[in-house]
Structure formats: C-alpha cells, structure tokens
Symmetry: C2
Subunit: 685 residues, 2 copies
C-alpha cells in the first residue's frame, strides 16, 4: 500500500550508508598542499568534536549506571533510573549551553541561486576543484542566522530519525519479547480496549481541548503563528503514548498485583504502536481544495484507511518474520550452535524493521509484534543457551537505548535551539492530559467491568489513571517534526510533560500504592485470595468448582477463542510443543500434518486427553465490540489464518488443560504450579 | 600529541550525529503543495531504497548463517563461514551490477562557482527558499559523470569509515577479550617480535618489491598515472595485516597445537594494530620542499615518532580505561546487578574507542588493549552472570561484524565503481606478499629459536608461513582511501589477495596440518609430551625438575618480569585476587595498601608462602632487543608504572607458584590442574 507518511530525508540506516566512493578531502596531486592541509585539519577537528560529544553521552550513561547502582543498593525508590538519566542530561545541557562559546567562525552560509527544484546532490566548483554536497533540508529565511550558532550544541543534537530507527526498535522489541504472556493474555480484551479505544479517545479529547486552548491564546494575543486543528490532534496522538516504565519498575520490585501490572504494561506496549500509527494518519489527513485545514470527510476516511492499513500491515510483517524465524529454528538443527542461532534471531528481528520500512509500513510497530511472536513461538525452539543469550542481548540493548533517550531528553531541554515555551499552552496541556486520561480510564473500565467477572476495582482504576506517564515514545514522536512554530511549541510542552510525569508521578508511585491499598509482595503464580478487597470475586459453590469457574472467566473469551486455534494449529506447526497435527488437522491433510509435526510432539501425546472445547464462542461479537482491533487477536496466525475455518471443525484436544501449561512455558518454574492450581489432575480423571 | 593522520569528513559516530534541528523537506506554509509533495516522495523513495539495501545485507548474513550451520552440521571444512559470506556477497554483487538499471534521472550535478575554500555547509537559494547542503567530498574533474551512475550501487556502498568506526571495533575488542592468556603470555616475546619486527620487515620488503613492479610497469607502458614510493610502502603496510581467522577456526575445531595457535593468534591480533599505525605513519610522511616524494630524513624520523606516539598513546588509552573499569567493578557492589554491570562494561569499552579518537590516537588499537586489560583484570571482578553476558554479547557482535565485512567484500568486487585491475601489479603483489611473509617468518624464527628453549620447529614455521591470510583489516585499510588511481589499484589488488588467501589457503588448512604432521586433538591444558617431534625439548635430570626447568624456560623472561610486577601489585590493586598489598608494598604505604586490598584477599593469604623471586632480570636488555616494543609489556601498569622501582625492592610472595594459577583464572577448570602440573605442592613444602 501507499505510504502517506511524511518522511524526512536524513533517515537512519541510511545514515550508515553513504554514497559511493566519494570522499571528503580527496588527495589531488595538483592542489596546493596548504589548502589541503587546512581542509584536513578542519575534518580532523570535526571528527574529534563528534567523538567528544558521543563520549559526553557515554559518560552520562556511565554516571547514571553508577548512581542507579547506589540507589538500588540503598533501596531508594523516589527516583527511577530514567528520571536520574534526565537529571544528569539536564546538568550537562546547562553546561553545554552556558559554558561553551557560542559562535563558530568559518562556516558562514554561502548563497547561490538556483531556479529549479532543489537537487539532492550538488556539485560546487571551488577555484577549479569540484566538491560534492548533499541536501540536508530547507531553512526558513528568518532562521538563516541561527543555523551555525554553536558548534558544540549542534554536535550533541541527533537527527530525530535516529530515535525512530536506532533507539526505539530495541526498546519496543524488548517490550514485546519480555511480555509476561500468561497475565497479558488473561486480560487481552481489556488491554486491547484500553490501547485502541482508550488511545483514540484520549487523542481526540486532548486534541479538542488543546484546540480550545489555542483559540483562547489567539484571543488574548499569546499566539502569533499558525496552529491548526490537525496540529492539535497530532499533539493529542503524540502525548497519548503512555510509558509507565518507572511505575512498572517499582511494581516489579515490590511484586505488586500481577493483573494490574499486565493491564498497565499491555496498554503501554500497544498504545505506543497505536500512537505512532495514529500520528501518521493525522499527518496523512490532507484535505483537498482551498481551505486545507477544514474538515473533509474524504480525507478523514482516507486517514482511517491509512491507520488500518499501516497497522495491519505492520502487524502482519512482524508476525510473518516471527513465524519464519520459528519455522527456521524448528526445522534446522541450529540449536546445536547457539551463536549462529542468536545471530539469526537478531538478524531476523532486525529485518522485520527494515522490511516494514521498505514496504512503507511502520518498522517500530512491526518490531513489537515480531517480539511478541518470537517470544510465543521461536523462544520455545531455541536452545537453552540462546534463550538466555537473546534475552540478555535485548535487555542490554533496551537498557542502553532507554537511558540514552532519557538523558538526551534532559540535554535537549537546554541544547535544543528552537524551544517555544508558552505558559498558557503548557498549563492547558497538563489539564487536557489529565482529563484525557480520566475520560479514557474510567468510562472504559466501567464498560469493561460489565463484561468482566474479575472486575477492575476502583483502586486499580485510580492507579491506572495515576500511571499515565509519558516517556520515550512521546518524545520521539514530538521531536520528529519541529519545523513549524506550532510543532516547536508541541515539542517543548511534551518535554515538560515527560519531565513532570517521570519525576513527580514516578516518585509518587510507592506512596500511591500504599494509599490505594494495592497488594504488594504477591507471588505472580498465585491467584488472589477470594477475600481480598481489591477484587469483587463472586463466590462459587465449592472451592474446586469456584476456582474452575473463575479461571474460565478470567481467561477472556477473546483469548480462549484465539487460544484453541493457537494451541491446536499454530504451536504444533511452529514449535516442538502442542498436540500432533495428525490429530488436530482433518484427515485429508495427513501427509502435510506428518511432515510439519516434530518427533518430540509424539512423545508428549500420551499425556494429552481428547476433550471437546466449549470455548469457541460466536466470533461475530468480536467485530462488533472491538472493531478493527480484532486483527491483533486473530490475524497473527500467518499463512494459515482464516477465522471461518474455526467454526466448521470440531476442535479436539484438551486445550483448556494445556492453556495454563502453555502460558507458563516461558518460565518453567511457573508451569507446573499454574497447571496444578487450575486443573487438579484428580478433577480430570 | 598532534594527529597527523588523514581523516575523511564523513566519519562514523558522526554519521549518527546530524546537525541541529535542520530538517529536510520542512513544512513551509507558503510553498506550493505540489513541489513539497514531490520532494517528500523522493525522500520516501530514498528511505525505502536504503531499507532495501540494508535488508539485502541482512538476508545475505541470514543465508550465510544457515549455510554455515549446514556446513558445520556436515563437518565440511574446506570453506569457512567468511569464505562463504564472500561467495554470497559476490553473487548479490553480480545481480546488483548487471540486474539493475544503470541510470538515475533526476540527480544531475549542478555547477556553481565559488572562489574561496569549500565550506562545510552551503546554503542554496532555490526560487526564494533556502536549502542547506553539507560537504561530502571532492571529486576529480574526470569522474564527474560517474558520480550518479547507479542508484542501487550507490546505496549498497558504505562510507569506508563505517568499517573503522563501527565494524572493526567489536571484532578487535573481541580478539583482545577472548585472548587465551596462558599460552599468549607464555609466548609473549615471540609474539611481540613477529608482530612488530615481522610486520615492519614485511611492510618494507613488500613496499620495495612493489616499487620495482611499478617501475617495470612504467617501463613497459602499463602504468599511466602517478604511483609514488610512499604509495608502495602504504600498500606494504595495508597488506601486512594478517587475519588467519579461517585457520584459527579450524585449529580450534581440531584442537591443534596450542602454542602454534597462540603464536598465530597473538601475531595477527597485534599486527593489525601495528599495520594501522604503520599505515598512518606512512601517510604522515610528508617531506618538505620541492620533490615531495623523495627520501627526507626529517620526515622519516617524524613518521617514526608518529608511529611511536600513536601506538603508545592508543595503548595507554586502552589500558587506562580497562584499569578504570576494573577499579569501578572492584570497589562498587555492581556485581549484584548484572545488567548494570554489563552495560557499564560495554560503555566503558566503547568509550575507549571514542576517547582515543578524541585525543587523536587510533581507536581500534586502543580497543584492542582495552579488551586485553578487561580480560586480565575486570573479568575477575565481574559476577558470573556478567562474565557470560559480556562474552556472549561481544561474541555475537564480533560474529555479525566479521561476516558483514566479508560479505561486503564479495559485494564490493562488483559494486565498487572505480576498480583498477592491473595483471602485472596483481601478480607482482602475490609474489611480493609471499616473499615478504617468508622474509618475516623464517629469519625471525631463526633468531627467536636462539633464545627460545622451547623451539619453533620447521613444521610450525611452514604452517605460520602458510597461514598468512589477509582479511577484514587489510580490506578496511585499503578502502579507506580510494581517491587516486594508485590507491584504487591497491584496493582492487587487496580485494583479490583476500579472496585468494581466504578461499585457497583457508580451504587448504586441514590438508596442510596433516601434511606438516602437526598434532591435533591436543588437550590445551596439557604440556606436549617430551618425545613429540614438533618440539626439540632438552631433557632435564628427573621428571620433576625437568618439568620445572622447562616451565621456567617456557615462560618468556620478558613475561616473567612483567608477571611478578603484575602479580604483586596490579592484580591486588585491580582485582580481588593476588597477595595482599600489605605484604608486597613497602611498609610506609601501609594505609594505602590496606585501603586498596579487598577483604577477599586476606582469606587467600594463608595459602601464600613468601619466596624470593629470581625472575627479575636486568631490564636493560629489553630496550636493546625489542626497541619500542617494550611499551607493550611494561607500560600497561597504569598510574603505578615505574620500571625502575622494580629493581630497588625485594619482590616477595610466591609469584612463580601463583603464575600458572593466575593465568588459568579465566577458565576455572584449568586453574587447579595447571597449578598442580607445574608446581606440585610437596615440592614447596
């Protein structure tokens, strides 16, 4: 499909690719040695400065690491590592801003008229020698004199696409890969609702409120430049990407309630993807005709189409590369060579990103779903060594990238040269964000509670409301386009929102948890005690049947539907687990089934009992309630996906019994306990 | 110190750093929408092409990995993974070269006269809008029409500095970090001799022979352009960097003789560093006056000074950051948080590179010595988890980078657009390389055998002669400057040398090993049996004293000198092992000694017995035999280094006893065995 996103020229992987054998300061025998020497000296100086600026970031990260250690060592919880990284960034930013000389002598802009469209490559004849120049970008006429303001500040300013193409992918992949599947899938329906409906609601409410603020600013003469409705909506999309990394870190440390954790984590992971695609769609909203910023139904539906197209396309890309990796690792004996296996895993995951970008989809979104698919299927095929290798590799990459972004944010507050701080806009934004979050959490929770047996209590809702921190994704989205006045104002405001939420909200998490009476120190594998006041659990007949009922209800129906398909077809095809395909596929597929089933599966066959699944509900509901979101639950099955095929066939095998076992497969110590708890063996015998 | 290296403008880390908030295709309200759209489409197209070309490399690597697996699975040894990567690269290169259209329409060069020196930034006024351009490099007038020949070929061509700044550092660091210390240090003297003297000899012989070839070519009219003596010497330096990765992989697999392995590995690791610095020094050789390519004593000594300066500076940088990391990991309890520890380790190792580059030294060389220092000290302080994490992390990075370079080499044979293949030069180069290697191995081995008790046998010498493969480093050095005709010819020739040696020599390793009767299947922890014909071991009196004598002789005297200093002072300061400093330092340092000694050391103290070391030889010899190379053995001791201080003081503690124990510290299962074998406990009691 077409890609209607605005893409900037200097995009990353490209940054690594430089054109041809063209070289700066080439030796040319005829030139005067002095001149050559001068150019060379300059190039050397530039290289040295670049090294120094990267070194600055590395030292920042090193300092952050050492301080984090000190904090962890002393069990300080009021400041998270990301908040710390920001503080160090701020300090260095202040030093760079006010401690370095602010002019650079030699790089005066040179003017040269050209009638046509700008070329991407320029050859310039300088006293007989030809030099090649490449297009960096357009500069608004008023800003020409700011271009070369401060060499050092320029050096520490990264291309915004670096965030999207280098730093975000490992963070997002890690989020998908480290997903705690059991609790995520148990709350799948709610998570999807929060991520899709919630983010959309939040985006529109914030957008509209901010449009009101902008109108007000124009009225009182606070705003001189243009600020369109679409800009407001874009701001809504940017700022709707929540990133409760601080909260989740504390949850992890204190072992807070696992369902709440799953809800927050799942929402934040998916709403990053939604926010990216949403902002792209808003940018794609280009009404035709004279008034380019009024409402246009055609353009609106085009934007919706773009949203669906990009989202589903990126999702498919991620799922497909995940599935391919799973097949490769299943059908080769690559696990005898963990290094090769890890390298393949890394390359395939990276190729998802590039593939999606090459096809015009969103790489970051594709990488997220690739991560989830890899964790769900490929992980099971890996050797024990590769499992820990891949986990550790992405953990380190994620850690470095995340702290880098946060320290860069601190730095950017002082080194970014086009800040526009408007007090009215900023106060308006904080209020809009608060209202947007409230309008997203409370009504949706109410609606979800109608369907959930395992209700989301008020305390949980308050905690979710509180945990709406903004982080790396909002920053990356905001810095992507800072060309116009309105976008600069949005960027500066986003930066302040991130600072405020990470420091204040992040620091207030522990007090908030105890104030809201949310359980801490929970064993993630134990279900909450029935008497706990965080849950409004309906009591069953006896302890056994009660447990069973509750589990059936806990497993979202959407999930159960997906689960039986996954368990009966996808797992056996893609991994070494699950029931043999020969029993689940119709008999005419016998040959294929035998080929695809791995020998290990037959060994497990004895333990499986045949039992009709009663979980397949009418899947018509799906599309009514969740609209376009069903793709997430149903579409990831790769080449074999066909929702209708589920209905016509009796699904055999004890999918429910295997349910808990499979979900716990990632952490083995959980598995047996989880299975026992839910389905005591004597109950089945 | 001053940095006389020629540095090109588009240098890596810099690639990640792009200037300011300047953006391509900025939105400007007043511009016509159509024009903007066109620029945007172009940008999008360019981004997509970049993704596709990176994807090409990833698919190449994936294919390579799968084929490697197949080869390993079937125990095929005639083709190593690097050779395979080159073949796949070649195939894709052919497809790109002949399968893609060769023109790109819109990027015609634009000429614009400018009187002054070229600016690094250019502002161009295109029908009222300003666009920023950055300098890419100079183009010789004859090549202007080649600039934009083929978009796809341009896209797959990386900036040469990418190799130096992104791909080589992990390879070189891994080489240092994975050094098998025990056998490396046992052969330290020989390795240093091969690496320093050998590389210099090889460089000069190849350079002079090639100068003869060039003269011959000029005589028969085969050479039209300039080709100076310094160019020939540069070629000698480039092609002297050996990279027996294929041979060593086979050695590893077959468990071939460990001493031969250590000699080859140590030589190749260090001669990479020597070759880089040598080539920089040759480039720095700029005689003054009219005839800029005649011999000039002042310039020559300046080059030698540059060599010594860069080498020792880079060495110090690497050692210092390694020492700092060791101190940090020793004195903090970071090992409770392996993720933080690994991240810190990674950042510190990377900062070495940047620090060296920022100071004007050579990052790659610094990284090598940093790797060795990290392995020797920091590794002992890491938690068990971090040990495997860091090893695995760098193993994966090294694997990916290496295979990437080799597949790029295959690709470059067809996609590089300025190849100059001259049959005379190529044949001359092969002969010169052969003679250079012979003149380096045989005479040096003869000289070394005069001093070595544990002789290097003829078979070993032949094997070393045979193993002079050229690889990633030669390629990276050659591609760094391909501006002039002579450099292009050197690059094309280097490419062919790499292909030939990797395929033919790499494939012939196994037959060669058996033909030369070199032992395979050796337990690396066992000393060779005295009757083995690869070694001319002199028989001692009894089995015990004989063993002891041999070990004393085996441990090079240079090493023993270094060892007692390292064991008594550096290890206790930097790690948790070794004797307490309170016993080794003079009494007036008592307080410092107590502060620096970690509590664990006192626990080990009981086992240590005091014994005078008889290994401190007159260190005047060092400077006579090894000249500038002594810095490698003695200079790495950080802030406390002072060679003279060794003489004035009685070195206590049983350094010899601890020698073997310490060397084996990296692989614990080796430790106890090694210690027992050499110094039976009853012998000391």
């Amino acid at each position: 499909m077409a890609l209607p996103l605005r893409r900037r020229l200097p995009v990353l992987p490209l940054l690594l690719l430089a054109a041809g054998g063209l070289r700066a300061a080439e030796r040319s025998g005829s030139s005067s040695a002095m001149e050559e020497l001068a150019t060379e000296k300059e190039a050397e100086e530039s290289h040295r400065q670049d090294s120094v600026s990267l070194l600055t970031f590395i030292l920042l990260l090193t300092l952050t690491i050492l301080t984090i250690w000190l904090f962890k060592h002393r069990r300080v919880r009021f400041l998270h590592e990301t908040g710390l990284a920001m503080i160090y960034g701020l300090i260095v930013g202040v030093i760079l801003r006010y401690g370095t000389p602010s002019t650079s002598g030699h790089d005066k802009p040179f003017s040269c008229s050209q009638e046509d469209r700008p070329f991407t490559t320029l050859l310039v004849n300088v006293s007989g020698k030809f030099f090649e120049y490449t297009l960096k970008g357009e500069i608004s006429p008023g800003k020409i004199h700011n271009v070369e303001q401060n060499d050092m500040l320029r050096k520490v300013t990264f291309d915004p696409e670096v965030f999207f193409n280098i730093l975000l992918p490992p963070i997002i992949f890690h989020a998908g890969y480290s997903l705690k599947k059991r609790h995520f899938f148990r709350n799948l329906g709610s998570i999807l609702a929060y991520a899709f409906l919630g983010t959309a609601v939040s985006c529109f409410i914030i957008g509209n409120l901010m449009y009101g603020v902008v109108k007000l600013m124009k009225l009182v003469g606070q705003l001189s430049d243009k600020f369109y409705y679409t800009d407001c909506l874009l701001f809504g999309a940017i700022i709707s990407a929540t990133d409760p990394v601080t909260v989740l870190a504390i949850f992890n440390e204190l072992h807070a309630d696992v369902d709440l954790y799953a809800l927050l984590f799942g929402e934040s992971v998916l709403n990053d993807a939604v926010a990216i695609v949403l902002s792209s769609s808003i940018v794609a909203y280009q009404p035709t005709g004279e008034n380019t910023h009024a409402f246009d139904a055609a353009a609106f539906f085009k934007s919706v189409g773009v949203f669906l197209g990009i989202f589903s396309g990126s999702f498919m890309m991620g799922a497909v590369t995940g599935v391919v990796t799973a097949l490769v690792t299943k059908f080769t004996k690559l696990h005898c060579f963990p290094l090769l296996e890890t390298a393949l895993f890394f390359l395939m995951s990276w190729s998802t990103f590039l593939l999606a970008e090459a096809c015009g989809f969103t790489g970051v979104v594709a990488v997220l779903f690739c991560g989830i698919t890899q964790a769900h299927y490929t992980y099971n095929n890996l050797s024990v060594e590769s499992r820990s290798r891949t986990k550790q590799l992405f953990e380190v990459l994620h850690f470095l990238a995340e702290n880098f972004i946060f320290s860069y944010m601190g730095l950017a507050l002082f080194t970014f040269q086009k800040h526009v701080f408007s007090p009215v806009f900023i106060i308006g934004a904080f209020i809009a964000i608060f209202l947007g979050r409230a309008a997203h959490i409370y009504p949706l929770s109410f609606l979800l509670n109608l369907g959930r047996r395992h209700k989301i209590s008020w305390n949980f809702q308050h905690m979710m409301m509180f945990s709406g921190l903004r982080g790396a994704m909002a920053f990356a989205l905001a810095i992507r386009d800072t060309a116009t006045y309105s976008h600069q104002m949005m960027f500066s405001t986003t930066l302040l929102v991130v600072f405020f939420t990470v420091w204040i909200v992040g620091g207030g998490t522990t007090p908030m948890l105890s104030w809201l009476n949310i359980r801490v120190g929970v064993d993630p594998d134990q279900d909450p005690p029935p008497t706990n006041d965080s849950f409004q659990v309906l009591q069953g007949d006896g302890p056994d049947s009660e447990r069973r009922n509750r589990t059936k209800q806990e497993s979202a129906w959407l999930f159960r539907l997906w689960y039986s398909f996954d368990h009966n077809y996808l797992k056996p095809i893609l991994t070494h687990s699950g029931p043999p395909l020969t029993t689940t596929l119709p008999s005419w597929c016998g040959l294929i089934a035998r080929c695809l089933t791995s020998p290990q599966v037959y060994d497990n066959q004895e333990q499986l009992r045949e039992e009709d699944s009663d979980f397949i509900l009418n899947d018509g509901d799906l599309t009514v309630t969740y609209g376009d979101t069903t793709i997430t639950a149903n579409g990831s099955s790769g080449p074999h996906t066909a929702t209708t095929s589920l209905d016509g066939r009796r699904t055999k095998s004890s999918s429910e019994e295997a349910l808990e076992r499979d979900l716990g497969a990632a952490d083995h110590e959980v598995t047996s306990r989880g299975t026992r708890l839910v389905f005591p063996l004597e109950d089945n015998a």
